[in-house]
Symmetry: C2
Subunit: 227 residues, 2 copies
DNA sequence: GGAGCAAATTTGTTATCACAAAACTCGAAC
DNA sequence: GTTCGAGTTTTGTGATAACAAATTTGCTCC
């Protein structure tokens, strides 16, 4: 489950470091406000500072990290209004993606989506929360991929990355809804029935529920921030 | 008007190179499909390859450049469908920004916007097309800034950057509409009257007209691509 | 003249080094 | 006990060099 070491995938070291850091951010390894130190990361990964530098620069450009005092990079501390903005944009963009996906996806795509959701539910009931979060992300990204809008997909990935460090606060959260009431079910139904409006509304409801839960937890999450 | 040399602004070399490359892309200095070579750029700017590398990596992450064969970076060649997608997303996001700006901006903001548009019109009638494009970009970015949504602003900047290399094709284009019919006027009116719906529709009409004109020119623009 | 292939050159990647600025440490003074 | 400051350490930046992969060149053979 854990991967303290660099993934073998990808050829260039800088790309591998970028993926690794991305994964660590989505798994909330770093707390909001924490500074990421060049040599520390390089030493842990067994590489030189140069590719780590490139990876950090990319993450800053993607909005996953923020530059502080024009020197070091740190995990952003999301304010209440900023988290609301990210979630509002996710509603717009993922809503559009869901609608387009319903128009373009075939039956096999809908079943693949259902399979992902099933794995997610299984992980949740068995208490493997980290895995649950991974499958949830996979569900949303797969939905966006079905819309066949690569620019939109990239933007949604960026928005997810900005929320990543906060997901730790969801690990110990109670169920937001009973399994059979999960909004994903209606999303899947929208895809199956090629009902774009239904898929859009369901996706937006899913995000809204997530946002509300996160906003309630935000004060205590930010209380644990570094510095 | 021209700036072959690095801007003095910003402290770090990598940041300056990044800004410079961004500017060059918006001014269509590089053709679609052109490869950007590390040592060539570094020599031209009188710096070492290291900061140029970081700048290129950032631009790839922003979608302004694309990685080819996992090695070099090149200016993307926008297909018809991809340009449509970018413009559709611009419609959605800038439309939302215009609506929010109308709700949040004050009278002084509206006049500042009108002043930018006046400078743009002046530049256009006097044939200074490059300057016209700069002022047009300033108008749209200022509009997004008035919405006070920093995440949205960053995403719109990214979308503009992807269209930047194509703007050369607009330099020699006929007027899209008579000056008094320019959609910007209705955007400004929407801001003045705090009419979010009007501002949104006008902004979207502006983008649609731009997109249609660009799509007509796209074949000949892509015909001049490199390699 | 064109195809194939090897040498030479170009080009991107990464590690190392020197440097400057920021952060930290540790006393001393009040 | 707190504050200030000098010296040390840490940390990021950018140039350089070594290396590898890709590209180009130029020659031969058909």
């Amino acid at each position: 489950m854990d991967a303290e070491t660099l993934p073998i995938s990808g050829e260039r070291v800088a790309i591998r470091v970028h993926h690794w850091l991305r994964q660590q951010l989505m798994r909330s390894r770093f707390r909001p406000g924490e500074k990421l130190k060049l040599r520390t990361l390089a030493e842990e990964l067994g590489v030189s500072p140069t590719p780590v530098r490139e990876a950090l620069a990319r993450l800053v450009s993607e909005g996953a990290l923020e530059q502080v005092d024009h020197r070091s990079a740190r995990v952003p501390v999301l304010s209440d209004v900023r988290l609301r903005e990210v979630c509002e944009l996710r509603c717009d963009l993922e809503g559009k993606a869901a609608e387009r996906a319903a128009e373009r996806a075939g039956p096999a795509d809908a079943e693949a989506l259902a399979a992902i959701h099933a794995r997610m539910t299984q992980a949740r009931v068995e208490g493997r929360m980290a895995e649950m979060l991974v499958e949830n992300e996979r569900f949303h990204m797969q939905l966006c991929a079905l819309a066949r809008m690569p620019v939109l997909l990239r933007m949604v990935e960026g928005l997810w990355l900005q929320c990543g460090p906060l997901n730790a606060g969801l690990q110990h959260m109670r169920f937001l809804h009973r399994p059979e009431d999960h909004p994903h079910h209606e999303v899947i139904r929208g895809i199956r029935q090629r009902d774009g409006g239904l898929a859009r509304l369901a996706a937006q409801r899913d995000i809204t529920l997530y946002a509300d839960a996160l906003l309630r937890r935000l004060p205590e999450i930010n209380a644990t921030q570094e510095r």
